[in-house]
Amino acid sequence: MSESATGEPVNAGAVADSDMGVDPSMLLSLRGVTKHFGAVQALRQVDLDVPAGQVTALVGDNGAGKSTLIKAVAGIWEPSSGTMYWQGKKIDIHTPKEAALLGIATVYQDLALCDNLDIVANMYLGFESTKKHVLDEITMEKRTQQTLKDLSVTTVHSVRQLVASLSGGQRQSVAVARAVMRDAKLVIMDEPTAALGVSQTAQVLALIKTLASRGIGVLVISHNLNDVFEVADRVAVMYLGTLVSSGPVANYTMSSTVELITTGVVSRAA
């Protein structure tokens, strides 16, 4: 990135004492994260803390910068400036692989599953177990079953089913289970329930709660405030690239959240 001409990134890395401001008990902390696309400023000085074992809901209107933010964490692109901390330590994430190695797993809306392969093959894609170069199907199948069971995904009849035959919620579950099986510490989900019906949504929300109860940090983007208030422990609201408010879900009501999303401020004194 050649944003140094703007003068902004120059101080970003140089602020040595900003480490002091980061709570090391947080799984992920962002400080002053900024992202430009040419003239468009998609993220402005975002500060965000994501704790382990809790569900953080990232809400905001279309174009607020939610996807841009999680892509920075997932290593799809680097922020123009700002700092990221992983368990209190300053880190740089340049590629999706680096994010994965840290334990950050991102489940995008398109899920990235192969319809023509069964659940086991999808869960292990790119990480297959082998014995003497031969696929170790038995080990993979057992671990897949165990992982799904641990996550209370019970609607799947057989892990040898092709993913093409699964419902939307089941597909979402497979994508999440894949992340969990690879020891993800932070699971990021972009609009996981957007395309789902009522019972499927309930399935995915239950899965999100299970993840958190297992000590995994969950950062979930959602448009649906009902879903947010059902699963979230914390809420973070974005408005035009700025993180305007964040904190425990108890600090928010449905109406105050709507107001933050649409105007970026709450009129009522809190």
Partner: protein, 383 residues
């Protein structure tokens, strides 16, 4: 599901031709039919490597011609290469050409359809150029008994039985071992009768074939035994199926054909595997070419056949390989190739003109593509 309707179609065809022509199921005709089928089968296997990834290679027919010519030319007395060196050279050249097409497709991001169509014109030209000049324009007659024997040679009747029994025994051992180890691991196992049904069917077909092959089919001298070509197809089929079903390499081929972006995000080097597919396609077409030239007894500019590549696609697709990528097995072109050979052979026996044979083969291919497309639609609707 899957291959079963195709097998039923095959049985119907066989019954039809046997009713219409009493010589159809005679040992000499069945042997002849198998040798015909083997060329289609190898070509179809070559195309499966590409179709699995949603690619296609339209130059495989000429690649086969080139391979056969190289083998015939270099085993000729004038060059006098040992057969294995000439065969190897033929296969290396075809693999390299496939790799070249693959690199062009991947590096320049071009559709494989166009690249290999252009490639097929280039290969046709090169091949005709070679054939018109080699041996003073006389083409490339076969002078190597090894090359001839690919399609003419037979196992002895004893070895035919040994081979058939070995195939049944190995299949049974593999199936039962797999069932046992799944059961031992506490995993779900399919009902045991399925293994029994499969083994009984396999035994019935192989014993019937062995018996047919071992019946004397010579008019003047005794000719009996299974053609060499049959165990060779089985060998290649076994290796390819193993690679596709049991190794990471095969798994990645399916993954790329199913969802290229998902494969990329899973860290699979997609473009490298696409090039591998073109190389394997070329290599396998090279094998087909050796059998092709062996059957023709030589190769000259007048014996080239531009429709060969269509048989490659047809054998793969009639067997059930999807043109859209991600679905297919190496057993499919075996069934597809046999169906093509049955149609070709049977129609000639019941004295349908050769022009009609083209029409009917085309209609069958069209039918297979329609089934493929409908299967894909119903799968998308399921989601």
């Amino acid at each position: 599901m899957g291959i079963v309707p195709v097998l039923i179609a095959l049985v119907v065809l066989i019954i039809y031709f046997e009713v219409r022509s009493s010589v159809f199921l005679k040992p000499d005709n069945i042997t002849n039919l198998f040798v015909q089928a083997i060329i289609f089968i190898f070509l179809g296997m070559a195309e499966v490597w590409l179709l699995l990834l949603g690619e296609i290679d339209l130059s495989l027919g000429w690649m086969a011609g080139l391979s056969g010519s190289i083998a015939a030319i270099y085993t000729n007395i004038q060059f006098g290469w040992p057969w294995w060196l000439a065969f190897l050279a033929a296969l290396v050249v075809c693999t390299a050409i496939g790799g070249l097409w693959g690199l062009i497709v991947v590096k320049l991001n071009l559709p494989s359809f166009i690249v290999t169509l252009a490639g097929s014109f280039i290969l046709e030209g090169v091949l005709l150029y070679i054939l018109d000049r080699v041996f003073e324009g006389g083409g490339a007659p076969i002078q190597s008994s090894e090359l001839t024997n690919l399609t003419v040679g037979n196992l002895t009747p004893t070895w035919t039985w040994i081979f058939v029994i070995a195939v049944i025994a190995v299949s049974a051992a593999v199936m039962i071992f797999r069932e046992r180890s799944r059961r031992a691991a506490g995993l779900e196992v399919p009902p045991f009768y399925r293994i029994v049904v499969k083994l009984v069917a396999l035994t019935a077909v192989s014993v019937a074939l062995a018996w047919l092959f071992n019946t004397n089919r010579g008019a003047f001298i005794k000719i009996e035994g299974m053609p060499f070509a049959v165990p060779m197809v089985f060998g290649v089929l076994g290796i390819y199926s193993f690679i596709l079903a049991r190794t990471k390499f095969g798994r990645y081929m399916y993954a790329i054909g199913g969802n290229r972006e998902a494969a990329r995000r899973a860290g699979i080097p997609v473009n490298r595997y696409r090039v591998y597919a073109f190389m394997l396609g070329g290599f396998t077409a090279g094998i087909a070419g050796l059998f092709y030239v062996s059957r023709l007894g030589g190769y000259s500019s007048s014996s080239t056949d531009p429709s060969l590549v269509l048989y490659a696609v047809a054998a793969a697709v009639i067997g059930g390989t999807s043109l859209y990528g991600g679905r297919g097995k190496m057993t499919y072109p075996v069934v597809g190739g046999i169906i093509l050979a049955v149609i070709n052979n049977g129609l000639v026996l019941i004295q349908i003109t050769s022009t009609m044979v083209y029409v009917i083969t085309g209609v069958v291919l069209l039918g297979a593509i329609t089934v493929d497309s409908l299967a894909r639609k119903s799968q998308t609707l399921l989601k």
